[in-house]
Symmetry: D2
Subunit: 262 residues, 4 copies
C-alpha cells in the first residue's frame, strides 16, 4: 500500500501568478513528508449557489495555466469538467479530470471523460448511496478506461448540511478503485449563507484524520493563502500556511492505518 | 386562481405511435374535468442509474415527435434538456423546457434555457432546501425570461429514499412563481433496485392529494399504459387507465383549497 | 367512516381557570361543525430541552383539573404519562393516555398504559420508521387493550428539524388502528432556540390540510389564547381565536377525502 | 491526556457465570495494552423493538451480579437505568450509571442519576444535535454532580439507519466533559430486521478507529463470545476473541491522536 496522495490547490484559478504561488507553497508543504500532490484548480465554477458570484477564468486561460503548472512543477494537475465537450481539451492540459458531485450520474459526461484515457476522479453525489457508485464507475470503465477514483464529499443531511458517513469509504473501496476523501467540501454548508455556501473549516482536519484512520488512497483538501478573501469556498478552505503541519499529521495516521513506517 | 394544470405523459418517448396513443388517452382522461394538460416525454434519459438501461430515441427524433403531438392535439408539450446547446432546438419543438433536478444549479443550462423565452420548469435538486430555489430562479430571470415554474420532486432522506416536505411548497411559492408538485418522482427510490431506481407507485396519489390540499399550480404525474414494462420509471408511474379518476379526485381537492366551484 | 376528531388544548396546564377558559373556547370553536374534541393538556413537561423551563402543575393538581374539565364540559380528556406508575391514576382522571414520542419504545410504560383499559394515543418516535409502529402497538395490545391510536408528529431530518412523511399515514393505517396527525409538534424545531424548541406555527395548518387530504382519523393541534406567552410550545401552537376557521377548513378536506357530506 | 478507556461487556446479563467468563476474557484482552475497562451489562432491555424478545434478568439479580464482578475483578461496572427509582440501587452496585439515548431528555431520570453521585454516561439521543447535549449535561450538573460523560451512538438518517457525524465529538467536547464513542450501537440498524434491530458489525472497528483519530476519552464496544446467539444486539457486537487485537489497534490511533508514547 502506498502512502496517501494529496489532491490540493485553490478552489478556483485566479491568475497564473496566483497558481504559481500556490503550487510553490503546496510543494513546500508536501516536501518534508515526501507527499505526492496533484495540483487542483477550477477554470469555471459552473454551479454556484447564485449568479452574483465569480465563475472563474474560463476554459482556455484556465487550461493554459494548469498545463504551465504541470510543466514548471512537474506535478500532475486536476480540473473539473462540466460538459462532455470539455473533456478532450481538459485532458490535454491535465492528468486527472474530475466529475462534480451534482453531475456524477450524467452518462455523456462520464463517457466522454472516460474516453480521454485520463484518470477520472468522480465525486459521489450528495444524493447518492456509496454502493450506487459502482454503477457510476461502470459507466466510465465501459470506455475501457479503468483509471477511476471515487471521492466522498458528504451526503445530504436535512437542509443546508452535509454529513460524512465513514462507512461509505470501505463500501466504495469494495469496487477495487482508489477512494478519496474530500475534507474541505465535506464541511460545506450548501446554500448556508443565502447566496453562497457556508462551511466549517475547523472540522476539515478532524474529518481528514478520521478518513486516514479508516483508510483511503488520497485526500482532497482545498487551500488558499487567504481563504476569507478567496473568490469561492473560502469558508471551508484550509490556510496554506497550515498545510505542512496538517499533512504531517495525516501522514502519521495514514502510516498507522496502512502499517507503513511513519 | 386557476385550477391545477397537469404535466403528464410517459417518462420516455418510445415511438410516434406510442406518444399519439398516450396523448389520446391523456386527453380523454382530462376531458371530463376540463383539465388543461401539458404533454411530457423525454427524448434522452441522460442520468440513468446504470449504463445498461435504455436512454431513448435521441433529440432529433424525439423533438420531431413532440412537435407533432403539439400540432395534432393542440396541447403544450414539455421535455427536459441536459445541456445548454439542447435548449434552442428543444424550445422550437416544445412550449416548456424542463431542468432536471441534478442539473438545477448548472448556470449555463439555466441561462440557455431562459434565453429561449420558453417557459421553464425547474425541478428542485434532491440536495437543495426549498428556500435555495430563489437563487435558481434568479439565474433564469436574469435573462429577462420570467416564465419560471418551481417543481418539488422529493428531498434526500437517508440512502435510496426521498421524502416530500410539504412546507417546501409554500416556501417556494413565496418567490411568486407557480409551484408544481411531481407526484411520481417523489415516490422514487433512487438506485433502490441495484441498477435501476425503485418506486412506490401506491403513494403517488396520496402525495398528490396532499399537494392539492396544500395548494399548487400544477401537478406532474408520469403515466403509461403498462408501467411494469415501460423502459424507465415503471415502478412509480401511474397506469393511464387510472388517470381519469385520479384527476377528478385531485381537481376536487384543488377546488376546495382554492375556493373554486368543484 | 367518521369525520375527524380533534385532540386539542394548551400544551401544559396552567390553572383550573385557564383550562376552563380554553375548554370553553375550544368547545365554541368546534360547535359550528359539530366536531368532536378531546381536551388535551399536560400536567408535567418531563423532557424539556433544558432545566430552566417550566415543567407544570404536577400530577395531582393536573389530574384534578382534567377530571373537572371532563365533568364540566362532558368531553373526553387526554394527558401524557411518563412513567408506568402514572398510568393508573391518570386513567382514572382521563379517557385517553398519551405516550410521548421519546418514550414510544419503553415497554413497561406501554404495558402499564395498556393495562388501564384506557384508550392509548402513542406518538411515533422521531427516530422510528412508520412500519415499526406495528411492534409498538403490539406491546399495548398484548395487555388485551386494543384501543390504540398511532400518532405521526414528525421524523428527524438533519439537526433541529423534523419532516412530515405523509407516506407514513397510510403505512400506519395498515395496522388497522386509527391514525392521528399531530400538526403542531410536526412543525417543532427541536432545540432550535438554544434552550427551548422553536417552531414554525405558520406551517401547522398547511400540514394539517395535507393530512386530511391523505386521510386520518383525528388531528392533534395544540392551541392557546396567547401562544407567544405560553409556558411551552408557544412557537408552534395555534392561537385559539383561529381555531374555528381552521377546523371548518379541515373538516371540508376530511369530508372530501372520506366521501362524506361536507 | 490519558489513553482511551473502554466501556465493554455483553449487551445484556445472562448469568453470573456468563458475566464472569466475559469479564475474564475482557480483562485478558485489555491486559497487554494496560487498557482500563469498565464492565458494562444491562439487567433489563427496557425498550426493545418488540415484545417477543428477551428483556433480561431483572434489576435485583442483575445488580447482584454486577457488584460481584466489581469485587472479583476490581474493575468499575456500568449499567443503564430506565426510571428515576432505579438510580439509587443501581448506584450502590455500579460505578457508572448510563442514561439510554431515548431517555436522554427525561429530566427526572437525569436528576435522580445525578443525585446518586455516581459517574453518569449519557447517550446522545438519535434525534438530538450534538450541541443540544449541553442542556442535557446541565440537568445532571444541577445536582452538584459533575461526573458526566457524553456518548455519541449515531443519529437518525432516513429510516432504520443511523449515521455517525464525527463533527459531533469535538462539538460535545466543548462542554468540557469526556466524550465517549459507542462503536457498536452506531452501526445498529434500528428495527431493521422487522421485530429486532439489525447491525453492521463489520463497520464497528472502522468507526472506532475514526473516533480515536478524531479524539475521544473512551470507547464503548459491546462484545460477546458468540454474538450470533446473544439474546440482544448480536448483529452489532464484536466477538470477544477479536477484542485484544482491536484494542491494540485503537490504542495506537489514540496514542497518535493524543501525542502519547505508543
Amino acid at each position: 500500500k502506498a502512502p496517501i496522495a494529496l489532491i490540493t490547490g485553490p478552489c478556483q484559478l485566479e491568475s497564473l501568478d496566483h497558481a504559481r504561488m500556490m503550487a510553490e507553497r503546496i510543494a513546500a508543504a508536501c516536501a518534508p513528508t515526501g507527499t505526492q500532490f496533484i495540483f487542483k484548480a477550477s477554470y469555471d465554477k459552473a454551479n454556484r449557489s447564485s449568479l452574483s458570484t465569480a465563475r472563474g477564468l474560463g476554459m482556455e486561460e484556465g487550461l493554459s495555466i494548469l498545463s504551465k503548472i504541470r510543466d514548471e512543477f512537474g506535478c500532475p494537475v486536476l480540473t473539473d469538467v462540466h460538459d462532455a465537450r470539455q473533456c478532450a481539451p481538459a485532458a490535454e492540459a491535465c492528468d486527472v479530470l474530475q466529475i462534480p458531485a451534482f453531475l456524477c450520474r450524467q452518462t455523456d459526461l462520464l463517457l466522454a471523460a472516460g474516453e480521454t484515457g485520463a484518470a477520472i476522479n468522480v465525486k459521489k453525489g450528495q444524493f447518492l448511496a456509496p454502493w450506487d457508485m459502482a454503477n457510476v464507475a461502470a459507466k466510465i470503465t465501459s470506455t475501457g478506461n479503468t483509471r477511476v477514483m471515487l471521492c466522498e464529499r458528504g451526503t445530504s443531511f436535512g437542509y443546508n448540511t452535509l454529513v460524512s458517513d465513514f462507512r461509505g469509504l470501505p463500501i466504495m473501496a469494495q469496487t477495487g478503485f482508489p477512494v478519496v476523501f474530500d475534507a474541505t467540501h465535506s464541511v460545506q454548508q450548501p446554500g448556508g449563507q443565502g447566496t453562497t455556501s457556508g462551511g466549517q473549516r475547523e472540522f476539515a482536519p478532524v474529518l481528514a484524520r478520521a478518513a486516514c484512520a479508516v483508510g483511503v488512497s488520497a485526500l482532497f483538501i482545498e487551500t488558499h493563502e487567504d481563504p476569507d478573501s478567496a473568490p469561492s469556498d473560502g469558508p471551508n478552505m484550509i490556510p496554506v500556511d497550515q498545510m505542512e503541519a496538517l499533512i504531517a499529521q495525516l501522514r502519521a495516521f495514514d502510516a498507522l492505518a496502512k502499517g507503513l513506517a511513519a
